[in-house]
Structure formats: C-alpha cells, structure tokens
Symmetry: C2
DNA sequence: CGACTTTTCACCCGGTTAATCACAAAACTA
DNA sequence: TAGTTTTGTGATTAACCGGGTGAAAAGTCG
C-alpha cells in the first residue's frame, strides 16, 4: 500500500515518530536535534527544513513530551535527550499502551467466543492470513492437514506447528514441493507427509489447511494488477469453521479422497 | 494535562486504538465488534453509535489492518479477531516500530555526546524529570548526593540508585523525612545519610541532587493555578552539567557546607 | 538610536475525517 | 407480484487540524 520511504535513517526516524503521534514538524525537529545534540531555532531550521518560526511550536510539543529540554537564554537553545533515553521512553510508553488496550479488550470481550461460524469469511494481506493460520493451528486438538507453497512458509507458522506437535497433534503435509518438505521436516520432524495427485505448489496457489475436520482455510496468491510488480504478490484467503460449514465440508471431502490413496 | 477519559473499558480501548492510528469510527467499530464477536453493519452501528452508512468504511480500514474478517453475504457480516490476537498484533507492531526507531536514532546520533553543557536547562512534568534524574544517576562514577520528598520517590529512581551502588558509587542522602530515609535504607542499605540544617521535605520542595560534583539538578513541585486541583502537583526542574556550570557551582558550595557539618 | 535577530502570533490553505443525505439494489412481506 | 423495509455505495457538507507564510512584537548589538 504505502511504499514507506525508509531510504535514510532520518526519514525512517521521522516516520516512526509521526506514527507515535508527533506532528511532522516535531518529528523533524527532534531528529535534527538528536543529530545536533543541541542548538538554536536557527540551527534546527537549517538541518530540518522546518520553518524557523515554527520550530518553537515543535519544541513546545517535544518539551511537553519530555523529549527536549530548553535553555532559557537568548537565543533559546534546545537540547534533545539521548537516542537511548528516547528509545527507552517510547518502549515504555508503547508497552504501557498495549497493556491498557489488552486489559480493556479482555474486559469487553464476551467470556465465551463461539467456535462455530456460519458461512465463509475472507482475510486479505499475507500477514493477516498468517495470523489466522497460526490461530487455527493453535486451536487444533487432533490433526492438522496443511499444504503450502514455499514463499508462505513463515517462521511463525512453523513455530505454531511445532507447539501443536508438542501438544500431541498429528501433522500431515500434502502435495508440497521437496524444498518445503525438507524445510518442515527439519524443523518439525514429527510431521507426516502424504502424496497428492496434484502438486499444490504447481498451481498459482497459496495454502490449504484443515484442522480437526472442523476448521478449514484456503488461500491464493494474487498479483494485484495495478500494484508494484516488484514486491511479492499479496495473499487472500477464505476460512470457515464448524462441522457443517460449507468450506469445511468441501475440504473434508477432498482430503478424505486424497488421504485414502 | 489531558484527563484521559478512562471511565469505561470501552472508551479506554477506543482511546488506545486511536493512538495506534485508527480513525475514531474504526476504533469504535472494532470495540463494538469485539463485544459482539460478529455482526452486521446495523448491529455495529447500534452498539457503537457509528452512523450505519459509515460502518463500511470503518470495516475496510479494519480489514486492511487484519483486525476484522468479512463474510460476503447479504447483509454482510463482520467478525473481529479475538482480543488476545489483537493484543499480540499490536504488541508486535509496536515493538517493531520501536526497534526501527531505535536503529534510526542510533544511526543519526553523533558518536560522542558531550557531557558538558553551558547554561541551565529546564525540564517539565514529573515523568520527564524522573527520566533526567535516572539518566544522571546512571552516569555517576563516584558520588551521588540526593534529597527528595516522598511523593517523588519513584521505583525507577531507587532502581537507578541501587545499580549505582553496585558500580561502587557512594550515595549520600540528605535532609529527608524519616519515611523517605527508611524506605531508601530498606531498598539501598548501602546509602549513607547526612544531616542538613533544613529539612528539605518541609519546604514546597521537590528534589535536589548532585553527581560527581559535575552535574546538578533541582526540582520543585508546582501547583498549576488553573489545573485540576485533584491531581498531583506537577514538577519542574532545572539542571546543569560541567565543572564550571553555574548551577553546579552553587550546589557544590551548598553541599560542601552541609556535608562538612 | 537604528539595524539587525529572535520570538510570538495570526492567518490562510489544503487535506482528512466526521457526519448527513440521496439513491439504487437487494431482501423481505403481505 | 407489488410494496415496503433493509442494505450498501457514493456524493456532499462541515469541522478540524496541521503545514506553510508573513506581519508584528520583543529583544540584542553596534
């Protein structure tokens, strides 16, 4: 979506600072001050391209956040806290925020989330699909059937598979390329493999999984027409849950046939 | 400053989600969906007070972020990822961002930060002052002289003092109330105390410290006139660094006199 | 006392987003 | 099937915020 311009450390830092809620001016001012360590409005303006008259606002913002100290002389001078201190500060703030959010969400969430879902749901973007995959793997009790292409063989997924094995879940890999098979074998030696009439990796495929015969997910890689052709194709998936869920029923049939052979 | 309205878990969650970059609608929609687990635009609109026709945009945003899956039926149905998954997601995102920022800032920062600063710098807000105090304590090589009132006896400061002791730094506490003295004695038994002619804790004081006779900081508690009188008074501090720094010189004189007695 | 520089302040402009409405398509009901 | 309600999309308006600019006030220096 956004081709975040991470060319230089400066813009990377500015980008993150803005994400953390600083205004563009404040972010650029702070970055300038970190490199200068200390300086006047003029100094800051020169290296940051922030209008001189606006440096003061930015400083107010930064001072309020405890990122900059001020020397009340004429001209005023500004001093940035060290990179290490700043990092620790954000680290703390973020972990605090996450914990507040976690508490609040746990509070809000109904105690029992139903496992069954009627219908078929969609997820887009590779990361979100991986999330859903690991979540489903995490819920597995008996058996996981999984097929994937190599590009999507994420470390997270392997971790989830391994911990499933440790819980005593049977893992069956099907129709994967030998590369994928080797890779998983290496990390999760307990995984079984089965042959499939078609090699999943040949098709413009993504992943295909079924867990405990009650949850299923299928994904494909799609090359977005008007997307940057340099970066990886995106992934889009559908999933369903419940004995009678239509996607589950279909996959169960396919796998039953495949697995019998 | 801001009396963040954390009355209810819902608003707390919304607040944090907005901080993490979601629009107000998206935040409220997500919170609603977490409590419903799944629902239609109408359902969401009813519990979240988001105009029904805007729920769809909010969902787009959330779907793009991988927080909500969509069931393409009519009416469309929306499903929120679990509170746990969501928390993990933000946790990850934030720690990633912090690490990017840290790398970038370390890159930008000049290799040697000068210890000496001309003039006297100001810091406002209690948290920022504590940051500066712990930073200065962390740089101590020989000796720390420290006075404080009880309200400002932060866990962070005590930690910093203890680790300074472990480095072989001499700690001297002066003019503190017996409560403060006991508290520190308990946690940092190696700390010495000295008597002062005035009891720092009697005045409308804050903290007063000098490190290695080269760095000094003084703070006071101020009750902001037009501030909420219910919450704690804020703190404002000045500090200076260097043998000849004016604040350092003054404090050195005072302490020399005090410590001799 | 001028000629600066520094600082504050007020304003404009553009983009974003909340908020409302209009309308067509779909689903439901009688 | 016709009529009514529900649902989804798009257009539109209004409010707000932040970036950008310049004028004026305060301070500094020769």
């Amino acid at each position: 979506m956004n081709t975040g311009s991470f060319d230089t450390p400066r813009s990377a830092a500015v980008e993150q600072l803005e994400q953390f809620g600083l205004s563009a001016y404040a972010a650029r001012t702070f970055v300038a001050l970190v490199s200068l360590e200390a300086g006047t409005a003029k100094d800051v303006s020169e290296v940051s391209d922030v209008p001189r008259t606006r440096v003061y606002d930015a400083i107010d913002e930064l001072h309020g956040r405890g990122l900059v100290d001020v020397r009340h002389s004429s001209p005023k001078e500004f001093w940035a806290i060290s990179a290490e201190t700043a990092s620790r500060k954000f680290e703390r703030e973020m972990s605090h925020r996450v914990s507040v959010l976690t508490t609040a969400l746990d509070d809000i969430e109904p105690t029992r989330r139903t496992e069954e879902q009627r219908g078929v749901w969609t997820v887009d973007e590779r990361e979100a699909v991986t999330d859903r995959v690991t979540e489903i793997i995490g819920d597995a009790d008996d058996e996981i059937v999984y097929m994937t292409v190599e590009e999507l063989l994420d470390e997270d997924v392997i971790d989830a598979l391994r911990s499933a094995v440790d819980r005593g879940v049977r893992i069956r890999l099907g129709g994967v390329s030998s590369d994928v098979r080797d890779r998983i074998r290496e990390e999760v030696p307990e995984a079984e493999t089965f042959d499939s009439i078609w090699l999943w990796s040949d098709t413009p495929a993504g992943r295909l999984m079924m867990v405990d015969e009650t949850r299923a997910l299928v994904s494909v890689l799609v090359d977005d027409e008007d997307a940057d052709p340099t970066d990886l194709p995106s992934e889009t998936a559908i999933w369903g849950s419940g004995e009678t869920n239509s996607l589950v029923v279909v996959l169960k049939a396919i796998f039953a046939w495949q697995l019998e052979r």
